[in-house]
Amino acid sequence: MRAAATVVELRQLLSERFPQAHGTKRGWHRTVVATGLANFDALLGGGLPKGEISELVGTRPGSGSAQVIHALLRCAASDGQFLALVDGADSFDVDAVEHDVLSRLLWVRCAKVEEALKAADLLLRDRNFPLVVLDLKLNPLAQLRKIPSNVWHRFRRLLEQNGAAMLAVTPTPLIGGAVCRVRVECRAGIEALAQPPSEVLGQLHFELLGAAECSETVAEAQAG
């Protein structure tokens, strides 16, 4: 009897610790972090899942990933939250953001991929930020492909522990363990510079890429 009870306790512990491995998908995405982009949130079932890595893929230069990052920052500021941005290539545009919104941003300007990954690791261990954005869009693809997969695994473990959400912006599908992988495309051309940012955001097109796990979760969220 004692052994049986121990096995039950062990299974329960493993189930809580590794919910994905035990097929208990419903409810393990406890909460999400809204992005402020209606079509993006709808695709993700409410927002970026907490405790997981989400990947935003922008394959070409004008794909709109910078617009998404700025939208995330504004959404965090409007919710009274803080956002940590690990800028892999130091490309964040300060001029497009108001002072009040900037005051809620921690910006880490990195020069190399290694720096960005170390900075992200430190921020995930910090446990103060509900959302960490890792922007690797402009980093050389050759460097990105050298990132060992255990880095992402470590990030996932840290995220599970602190309950934060992480969005990695990449130029190509890169993160094997990402729970959501979304490709973003922007149909706007040079005329976008004449439009308010809200209109440009409306022209972003999001497409969910092969993440069966995420799809099921999204479907569940949409169904109920």
């Binding site: 300060v94 900075a119 004449a194």
Partner: protein, 618 residues
């Protein structure tokens, strides 16, 4: 009742406070102040090896080769005095710094130690005595524990007068511990409590009264060993024989005389220092001693109810230089793990030119902060952790590359500085409307800007535009002397044949809301320019008018750089800006927005040093 805290061998205790493990080894403390250095204090192990006080260091080394020589340091004695006074002040508001290593406390005002009488009884009975002795013992035990935590080996004596308490502290446990029951004292583990003062005083050796050497010799020849035997001689008879010193001896032997205490308040100076015997070049020994500093400082702050607001770390180098760093805590605290982590993080990134010979750590005290959060206010979970993370990030990427961006007071694009984040003082919840106020479409910036080769098309009437494109660019200015005023929307019409025809095509609402900068034709130069927001003052002063093309512009038609290569589908501009023309940091630039045939939208900038790609629409 009064209590006396006595620290035997106070200079040695002060010197070994940060190295308590040395008490078991032969250590000699050398006083360098007089002409010839002499051993002024020694541990029991050193005395056992005949290396006692009064020897020179060489003589001490000759008698004991393993002896460790330490210098007497006034700064450490001062810190130890501060520590014991601050500790004593936490147990009684009336304290006296009687002598170095001796503090007298007045316990008469303490309610928990006041004399207790059983209800209905006027006189003290045995039960009352036992209860009071127990209360005094508990109090003494707490005080002793606090002093032990500071690595101070204290003897505590409690008696009805300061003099009796002093004798109890000095002689109570060392000399009389085995005979306590018949001497009217209670020798507890923490303190010696005197119940019957005359019996206790009478049992003390004559040396307790500190007679001069001559008088001590006379008394020894007379066979007078204890204070009781001395008192039996009578004050007048003794004074006739040995003079006025007899009066001083009888006063020192008084069990009833009360004297007013010279009350002091401990300083609010919380500092610990240590001189390394050998220079250190690695972080480990420094962290080892800093850990003890942090523990001591935290314990010293606790009785006063203070917390640490700022730490000042001072490192003295072998070269004579001093490295000083002030570390401000995001949230005042006296948690040792937080304080130590902050120091550790700082030292990890510290490099010094020469080895370290001494270290001191000072804590600035403050009252604990009380804060009431608003209902919807979001605060950092752990500000101390955040501060540490910031320090680590600064060490990783550089202090100038981590923080919260603040735009500078300049019209220059991408002019900002990074400041230390202060999320506690960040703007409250930013309304969704205000968060969506920005009218500038964000780019991805290239820092530094990418050098580019640009092929230009000369403005000439025989060069027709590639297509009739109508576009505009929203420009938001941030400063009182703007390129365009904040509410302005500059509408630029390129490659149209006439401004009138363009105006006919403008929607009515656009005409109302937009101020139009019209370029009738690229090749017409500035003569045909109309601007709604040009600065008349600037023109009058003869300096460049930002935003106003001052001459013929050449349109980029092809680009070659690491970001893009090939013909441009369209180029819109120029937008000119300049600033700081009154000093050496003057700048002038001309911006173009261009789209490549692949669809990338680039921000091209022409400066004095050439063409650059500053960003890309993403």
């Amino acid at each position: 009742m009064f209590a006396v805290i006595h620290l035997p061998q106070f200079p040695l205790q002060a010197a070994l406070r940060h190295e308590p493990e040395l008490w078991a080894k032969p250590v000699a403390l050398v006083d360098l102040a007089p002409g010839t250095p002499r051993v002024c204090a020694a541990t029991d192990a050193a005395r056992a090896a005949a290396a006692a006080e009064g020897l020179t260091p060489t003589q001490a080394l000759a008698r004991c080769r393993q002896i460790i020589i330490r210098r007497r340091a006034p700064s450490q004695e001062s810190a130890a005095t501060d520590a014991v006074l601050q500790c004593a002040f936490g147990y009684s508001p009336n304290i006296e710094h009687t002598s170095p290593g001796t503090v007298t406390l007045d316990l008469r005002a303490l309610a928990e130690l006041s004399e207790r009488r059983s209800p209905g009884h006027r006189e003290f009975d045995d039960a009352d005595h036992a209860e009071q002795i127990s209360a005094l013992h508990n109090w003494g035990e707490r005080l002793s524990t606090a002093l032990t935590a500071l690595n101070l080996r204290a003897r505590i004596g409690i008696g009805p007068t300061p003099n009796v308490a002093r004798h109890a502290a000095w002689w109570g446990r060392a000399e009389l511990g085995t005979r306590n029951s018949e001497l009217g004292i209670a020798v507890m583990p923490a303190a010696t409590i005197v119940r019957d003062s005359p019996s206790f005083i009478a049992s003390l050796p004559v040396a307790a009264l500190e007679p001069s050497s001559d008088v001590a010799l006379i008394l020894r020849k007379w066979g007078v060993r204890t204070v009781g035997e001395l008192l039996a001689l009578g004050q007048d008879a003794l004074a006739e024989r040995i003079g006025l010193e007899a009066l001083a001896l009888f006063a020192a032997a008084s069990a009833t005389a009360l004297r007013p205490l010279n009350l002091v308040r401990p300083t609010e100076r919380y500092e610990e220092s240590f001189d390394f015997e050998q220079e250190i070049e690695t972080i480990e020994p420094l962290l080892f001693i800093l850990r003890r500093f942090v523990d001591y400082l935290s314990q010293r702050l606790e009785p006063a109810g203070f917390v640490v607001e700022r730490l000042t770390l001072k490192l003295r180098l072998e070269s004579g230089a001093v490295v000083e760093q002030r570390l401000r805590l995001p949230q005042p605290t006296r948690r040792t793990d937080v304080l130590f982590r902050m120091l550790h993080t700082h030292l990890e990134s510290l490099r010094t030119d020469s080895p370290i010979v001494s270290v001191s750590l000072k804590a600035d005290p403050t009252q604990p902060e009380q804060k009431q959060f608003r209902l919807f206010e979001v605060a950092l979970r752990d500000p101390h952790q955040f501060q540490e993370t910031l320090a680590r990030l600064s060490a990783l990427v550089g202090a100038d590359r981590v923080g919260t961006p603040v735009r500078e007071e300049s019209h220059r694009p991408d002019a900002f500085k990074l400041v230390t984040p202060d999320f506690e003082k960040a703007s409250g919840v930013v309304g969704r409307k205000s968060a969506a106020l920005s009218r500038i479409v964000p780019l991805r910036r290239f820092r530094p800007a990418v050098k580019a080769k640009i092929e230009l098309m000369k403005p000439a009437s025989d060069n027709p535009p590639p297509s009739s494109v109508r576009t505009s660019r929203i420009v938001e200015s941030r400063r009182p002397i703007p390129v365009f005023r904040p509410e302005d929307v500059a509408e630029m019409l390129l490659f149209s044949k006439t401004a009138d025809s363009a105006r006919q095509k403008e929607p009515d609402d656009a005409k109302r809301n937009a101020k139009v900068v019209e370029f009738p034709a690229a090749h017409q130069g500035s003569k045909g320019l109309k601007t709604a927001t040009g600065s008349a003052d600037a023109a009058a002063e003869g300096r460049p008018n930002p935003g106003t093309p001052s001459g013929e512009s050449s349109r980029p038609i092809a680009i070659q750089c690491s970001v893009a290569k090939g013909k441009l589908r369209i180029a819109v501009g120029p937008w000119r800006a300049s600033g700081s023309w009154w000093d050496a940091n003057s700048w002038q630039r001309e911006e173009w927005d261009a789209a490549t045939r692949e669809g990338a939208v680039l921000r091209l900038v022409q400066r004095a040093d050439g063409w650059f790609v500053e960003g890309v629409l993403d």
